[in-house]
Symmetry: C2
Subunit: 419 residues, 2 copies
């Protein structure tokens, strides 16, 4: 145990030292190493897959579900996709060094704000080993070192991928300490990692709500996370119902198990009698089960009455709650109470109602006449994402390269002193 603590502390310390050297790497040098990583993964495909087999064998012995084993497998397709991911990151604009708001003060000082790397990112994640490569690539492009702690199911795969990435780093003259995977997967390793506030600048946890809550409650280091995505659509009385139905179906049914999938629909009372039967029929034919408030069950008796515990639940399957509301105020109150500040959308053709909803709803993404599934870094134009934050500090919503940086003040003087 004391050895484990020392080892992890030493990794964190070396990561911080590595980060110091990454600050001044040129964009060209960073892109070269990313391309080289892709090539090295290709060259080491057999090694990576044989290590991955160890995880798959152990997973089968442990009785992991077929879905879990599928997420764990580094098939040729998954490896190709990791390589493509690395090459795509080279095309993203390097945020480091950009200077905003440079302006002259009355005393002649030129003051601006320069984007700089955060330093060292700690990533804590479960299963899917391709996260190791995706996260390392984004952190490196933004000039950060990364310390990764994956799940026990993927330990051989993660260690193999780290070894390959480190080989690529070193062949380009960059220290291997820039990308490190902690070789121990028990929770004690997480505890030790979360206490390295001297060396780590940010923790990003990805996984189930339990893991994220544990990380968030234990960490001495700032954490960017979302617990869950309880996303809503409010169908306003002035909605174009021909837009509403496809948007609701897409939001709920396209991929029900993800955080930006829809969990609740609110319908204005003036259109409920007309629209609910149509919506119920359309959703039923997609296999979606509606759980409704009393009023909605009165309108469509086939709707299952919702239990109190259904409101605000992240189902992650084809269940969906529906509630008839008096007005936009009741929609706001409902979203405040049951939402998770992830994604909340309105369907309306009314200009003023749309602008009010956008301005007043407190969520990382607020949308008009669009599917909740668009709350995703790629879809919103960030190029790639390392996670979604429902914390308001630093980043709110999908986090791309820019969210892996911060800004410092820079000042060009000509000898000024303060009077």
């Amino acid at each position: 145990m004391s050895n484990l603590a020392d080892d992890i502390k030493d990794m964190a310390r070396r990561a911080k030292k590595a980060a110091r050297t990454l600050v001044s790497l040129s964009t060209e040098a960073k892109n070269n190493v990313l391309l080289h990583m892709a090539d090295t993964i290709d060259a080491k495909r057999a090694f990576i897959q044989s290590e991955n087999q160890k995880d798959l064998t152990a997973g089968r012995e442990k009785g992991l579900s077929a879905a879990m084993l599928d997420r764990l497998e580094l098939s040729d397709t998954v490896i190709d996709s990791m390589m493509n991911g690395l090459r795509e990151v080279t095309a993203l604009t390097d945020p480091v060094g950009a200077i905003d708001n440079m302006a002259k003060r009355p005393n002649g000082l030129m003051v601006g704000r320069m984007r700089i790397p955060l330093g060292v990112i700690g990533m804590i994640y479960e299963s899917r080993p391709n996260v190791t490569v995706d996260a390392a690539a984004l952190c490196l492009k933004a000039g950060n070192a990364i310390v990764l702690r994956g799940g026990s199911e993927a330990i051989h795969s993660n260690m193999a991928l780290a070894a390959v990435l480190q080989e690529a780093l070193q062949s380009q003259g960059i220290t291997a300490d820039a990308i490190q995977v902690i070789p121990v997967t028990d929770r004690e390793a997480v505890n030790v990692m979360l206490a390295q506030e001297e060396y780590l600048d940010l923790i990003i946890p990805r996984g189930g709500e339990g893991l994220i809550r544990f990380v968030s409650e234990t960490s001495r280091i700032p954490v960017l996370k979302h617990y869950k995505g309880v996303c809503h659509i409010y169908v306003d009385k002035d909605a174009d119902l021909a837009k509403a139905t496809p948007i609701i179906i897409n939001s709920k049914a396209q991929r029900p198990g993800v955080c930006n999938a829809l969990e609740g629909v609110l319908i204005h009372k003036d259109i409920a009698e007309e629209y609910l039967p149509e919506l119920f029929a359309a959703l039923s034919s997609e296999g979606v089960t509606l759980l409704g408030c009393k009023e909605s069950v009165r309108i469509v008796s086939d709707i299952t009455p919702a239990m109190e515990s259904d409101w605000g639940t992240e189902f992650l399957d084809l269940r969906l709650v529906v509630k008839v509301v008096e007005d936009i105020e009741e929609a706001f109150s409902y979203i405040d109470e049951y939402g998770s500040q992830h994604t909340d959308n309105i369907i309306t053709e009314n200009y003023t109602t749309a602008q009010r909803f956008v301005a007043e709803v407190d969520a990382s993404a607020v949308m008009v006449n669009a599917s909740t599934r668009f709350n995703d870094g790629g879809q919103l134009g960030l190029g790639a994402e390392i996670g979604i934050s429902t914390t308001k500090l630093h980043a709110y919503g999908p986090m791309g390269l820019e969210e892996l940086t911060t800004k410092k003040f820079i000042v060009y003087g000509q000898g000024q002193v303060r009077v």
Copy 2:
């Protein structure tokens, strides 16, 4: 104790509810209430000063120093300055509602990022009661509610100011819950406050290093803080020495007790023989005591040899360490080891050296040929500041109105679904 916890939780809960109403206040409404606050403070001057007298009397009985009593006093001048502060905040640009980076995605979605208030700010501070008014004004202008917990020395003054501000809020139809002062000043109140992560979005502590460390280690809510300001100036071999001396004197001696005062000077070895005697003489005549490395003592034997513990110390008085360094690399290593990521400056006429220093030094403000005393929100053009952050997440450096907000994604669609 259980009553105290319930009371503080209730205050936090009400603050969050108040914050919901502040989001949609117009800039005009916010400015009107700020002006009204200034007028109400003026009208209630006698009441404020008689409550302040209770703190001053108690302070004298407790044997507070003259400097402490001075900081505590709400003289006519201090009250006028609080009123001016309120009026000045009306002139600052309201950051809420500004939309950045609005752009069209290939599928026609319009995606942008809208500035929104953070929600509820918790402020924990010591003595100076005018912070109550300054902080409340900035938080309100940025659309946030605030819960303040001041020190025991200023409790009557803080409660009086809060009552006056709340009266002004209510007269303008805004809930008094937008600005609340916790009436209990023991540490247990801080503990309870720091556990209200359900209601508070950000904690800003202001005070001594002990208080800030305690807050930072206890809080479950994100904290923006700086522990101390150990600021450096590196005098490069290509420095214009006629600029260096006035900048060093201003940085150290203009106001030695503040966080942006200078604590260490690094001098390139090539100019040390020439410059150190001159610098020693100039600083001595300002009453500054130099504590030096071996090499500097060899050059100027009147320099006091520094003890190991002097390096990296925030003296907050007229002591200053000086060290002769081999080159800019040694300056970087020294600043990495002994700096506090607050303010680090270079004196040089060399273009490449200046750019390298600006790009590579990790501090909230990095300056060329200027006094460290410029690291201040007012001086850097923020208009006002609520504190300085040496944490990299969210804000790095002085925090103004913009740092009291965050950005959410907003999306205008025309019926798009994800394919």
